[in-house]
């Protein structure tokens, strides 16, 4: 608060740190423009530099314009600033204060486990943060000069604390409470454990940064932004985050595909023109046109759910699920070497996890051996559903076109394309791998309006935007 009001005197050194911080944000992929950097610097003059939290939140408003980038920002901010404000050795005095331990000594393992249980029961974020500091001090065993990632130390500390045991104990307590209260408690305990985990990780980073320097830590922590993560290598957590991002995108895709063509006139309406011409003495001054038949577009999505694209398939199903909840004229198929319609399954499922389970268990997607066979899938699709394809149908195929050297049957794709309004192919493989080995994309792609590489959210977004 003291620095608010008059412009803060940014020392040369401080400014350097900020410049490095902005650079690192960019390096991590957060789009920070020059204007935004200028805004941030201007904001610094008004923000209370001594209050870390206010500084963090205020600065974020000028730099981070997407919620998905917040985590990257927060981690980097912590590396560069909060850690310097904290005492280099936050051992004794910080952890004893809230947790009530004897001064100066580290708690023993059993004491700490007890302490952890109580802190988690009580659940205040401060107590959990203090606990995390104590746990890291006691268990992580950070060694000078060893180049081990922070994840390793956090993992070790949490294992020695026996978090899983704690989680079980708390879950047992919640079950005992029973009823609504029990349910609520179980959820709260889960969230607190999650908080403890992330606090421990933050604390490890904090300790390592004093040894290794913020820049190096930032580089070692650099992870792709949510929209750049390859669909094939999604972690569980990222998949959950992706789901939120897919929702608006699915809506947009549905809107684009469903958009009725406006401003397009149909053929000349001779009768109307003749009638109209009577007003001008038989001279057809103003031609009339038949209004076009309003088409009701449909979206058909075919998704490969075979092993080679397993991770991608989870994502595709998310997309299909989101689409079918947005857009009633969406139909979905899943295939491996057989193909089955899953529209109903997706529509019945109350959430995505159930939808995936349903598709994996109930859909009849294996014909012979459970390895992709695009040729058979396409002919089968054409035979069973081909009659329902109309010039209003947009078909989107999601798959890698790796057909395990089965017959290609390109004619089937051509026939699908002939009957449908348009066909798009989204491939989760890098472009460089297309048409290598058993990939026969070119044979199918030739009949598509467009073939797109679709390995991350950014590419998917580009595809959707380009449709408009």
């Amino acid at each position: 608060m003291s620095t608010a009001g008059e412009p803060a005197a940014l020392g040369e050194g401080v400014f350097e740190v900020f410049a490095e911080f902005f650079g690192e944000l960019r390096a991590a992929g957060v789009p920070v423009s020059t204007t935004e950097v200028l805004d941030a610097v201007e904001a610094l003059a008004h923000l209370p530099l001594a209050e870390r939290e206010a500084l963090k939140l205020g600065l974020a408003a000028t730099l981070v314009k997407q919620e998905a980038h917040w985590r990257t920002y927060e981690t980097l901010f912590d590396l560069y600033f909060s850690l310097r404000a904290a005492p280099a050795e936050p051992g004794a005095q910080t952890l004893t204060a809230p947790s009530g331990l004897p001064e100066g000594s580290l708690p023993s393992a059993s004491e700490l486990s007890d302490l952890a249980y109580r802190a988690l029961l009580e659940g205040s974020p401060e107590a959990i943060a203090a606990l995390a500091r104590a746990v890291v001090a006691r268990f992580s065993g950070i060694e000078q000069g060893r180049t081990v990632g922070p994840g390793y130390y956090a993992y070790r500390a949490l294992r020695q604390l026996d978090v899983d045991g704690l989680a079980e104990r708390l879950a047992g307590d919640a079950l005992e409470a029973g009823g609504l209260e029990g349910r609520v408690l179980a959820n709260e305990y889960r969230q607190r454990l999650e908080l403890l985990r992330s606090e421990v990780q933050a604390e490890v980073r904090r300790r390592l940064v004093s040894e290794r320097g913020a820049g190096e830590m930032a580089r070692s922590l650099r992870r792709p932004l949510p929209e750049d993560v390859d669909f094939m290598h999604l972690s569980r957590e990222e998949l959950a985050a992706l789901q939120r991002a897919v929702q608006p995108l699915a809506r947009k895709l549905a809107v684009h595909l469903a958009r009725r063509r406006r401003n397009r006139q149909g053929r000349l309406d001779f009768r109307a023109t003749a009638r109209r011409s009577l007003a001008s003495g038989g001279v057809p001054v103003e031609p009339r046109f038949k209004s076009r038949h309003r088409s009701k577009p449909e979206l058909w999505a075919l998704a490969d759910v075979s092993g080679s694209v397993a991770a991608f398939a989870r994502f595709t199903l998310q997309l299909l699920y989101a689409l079918s909840s947005q857009f009633s004229r969406t139909r979905a198929w899943a295939f491996i070497d057989g193909i089955d319609e899953v529209t109903g399954l997706l529509r019945q499922a109350t959430d995505i996890a159930e939808a995936v389970r349903q598709v994996n268990t109930a859909a009849d997607v294996v014909w012979r051996e459970g390895h992709s066979d695009y040729g058979h899938v396409l002919t089968d699709f054409l035979a069973k559903w081909g009659k329902e394809l109309t010039p209003r149908t947009t078909v989107v195929v999601l798959g890698d076109a790796r057909s395990n050297y089965h017959p290609i049957e390109g004619w089937a794709m051509a026939e699908v394309a002939r009957r449908a309004r348009q066909v798009f192919w989204l491939n989760p493989e890098p472009r460089a791998y297309w048409d290598t080995g058993d990939s026969v994309l070119a044979h199918y792609g030739a009949h598509c309006q467009g073939v797109y590489e679709c390995r991350n959210l950014r590419q998917l977004r580009r595809f959707v935007e380009q449709l408009s």
């Binding site: 204007t35 904001a43 008004h46 939140l57 981070v64 009823g179 609504l180 608006p248 959430d351």
Partner: protein, 299 residues
């Protein structure tokens, strides 16, 4: 209360913004207070993004109340255009003016003079953006649900947001006499353009934490017992952790709390919760899902 001086550095710190907002009945979190403080200092618009019903629009209203300003609101929708957002010529009035001219022929006005006359202030219909720019009194401009307009229409806003001015070809540029507080809200149904984002401070408003939501319930539902408020909020937080089509918003939490108070429920249990879930959730599949989650422990 509001004076010329007031609009200039009213707040000493984010903390004082927080307190001022509290006085008008808005419980802000730290991020909100910081961003409002900063926006006031940097004279920049705030883009508030987040799910529906988390108090985005209310924030703008509260800031207006707090600073004693008038709220000018532009509700966005698909198909919004210049004539509805910026200004429009009142052509009926212009026509009348020309006709009146013809009747009173002989006064001797040339066409140029007439043209100058009919394209002037009295014939201009100010729409929200122009109104906010021209206002002599302090205003808060709220551009609500900006994600609903098309990308092309977004460009309309850029001039207003960065330079606080509006260009009317016939009249020249109208500059703001005082810089209004601008809020843009978005439900994130689509990605806004970089150009728009660059001009704004960004504030993401998510669902509140347990403590803050309880405070909100206690403040807005006067007759509620604090133990019930606590239960309501904790249950809502559990429901939000489920994978729902539409997680309950703060306003729905409040509706639920009010319902329970009206029903005279002393304490929330699984049965009562299940029976009243339809106040909290609006999709039948969500209700089913939540009922399952809340109920299994009793059975």
């Amino acid at each position: 209360m509001p004076s010329e001086l007031d609009t200039l550095n009213v707040f000493a710190s984010p903390q004082s913004v927080h307190e001022a907002l509290r006085k008008v009945g808005y419980l802000a979190d730290n991020g909100t207070a910081s961003v409002v403080f900063l926006a006031e200092r940097l004279k920049k618009p705030i883009l508030v993004e987040g799910p529906a019903g988390t108090g985005k629009t209310q924030l703008a209203k509260s800031v207006a109340e707090m600073t004693g300003s008038r709220l000018v609101r532009l509700q966005c929708y698909e198909g919004l255009d210049e004539s509805k957002a910026l200004y429009e010529w009142n052509y009926k009035k212009q026509l009348l003016r020309i006709q009146a001219e013809q009747v009173a022929k002989g006064v001797g006005e040339t066409w140029e003079e007439l043209e100058e006359d009919i394209f002037s202030e009295p014939f201009l219909l100010a729409r929200p953006l122009l109104e906010a720019i021209r206002a002599a009194d302090p205003v808060v401009l709220l551009i609500d649900e900006v994600d609903r307009v098309e990308v092309e229409t977004e460009a309309l806003l850029l001039e207003v947001l960065s330079d606080y001015q509006v260009s009317v070809p016939e009249m020249g540029t109208i500059k703001a006499t005082q810089i209004p507080f601008v809020f843009l809200t978005s439900n994130n149904t689509r990605e806004l353009s970089e150009a728009l984002k660059r001009r704004c401070l960004y504030l993401h408003m998510g669902y509140p934490g347990k403590q803050r939501e309880r405070d909100i319930v206690l403040a807005k539902v006067p007759d509620i017992r604090s133990s019930l408020a606590e239960q309501v909020v904790r249950t809502v937080q559990l429901v939000r952790s489920l994978d729902l089509k539409k997680p309950p918003s703060v306003s729905e939490t409040l509706d639920w709390a009010r319902t329970l108070v009206v029903l005279g429920v002393p304490e929330l249990d699984a049965d009562v919760a299940k029976q009243t879930l339809n106040v909290l959730l609006k999709h039948s599949s969500d209700i089913e899902r939540a009922a399952k989650e809340l109920g299994t422990a009793t059975g």
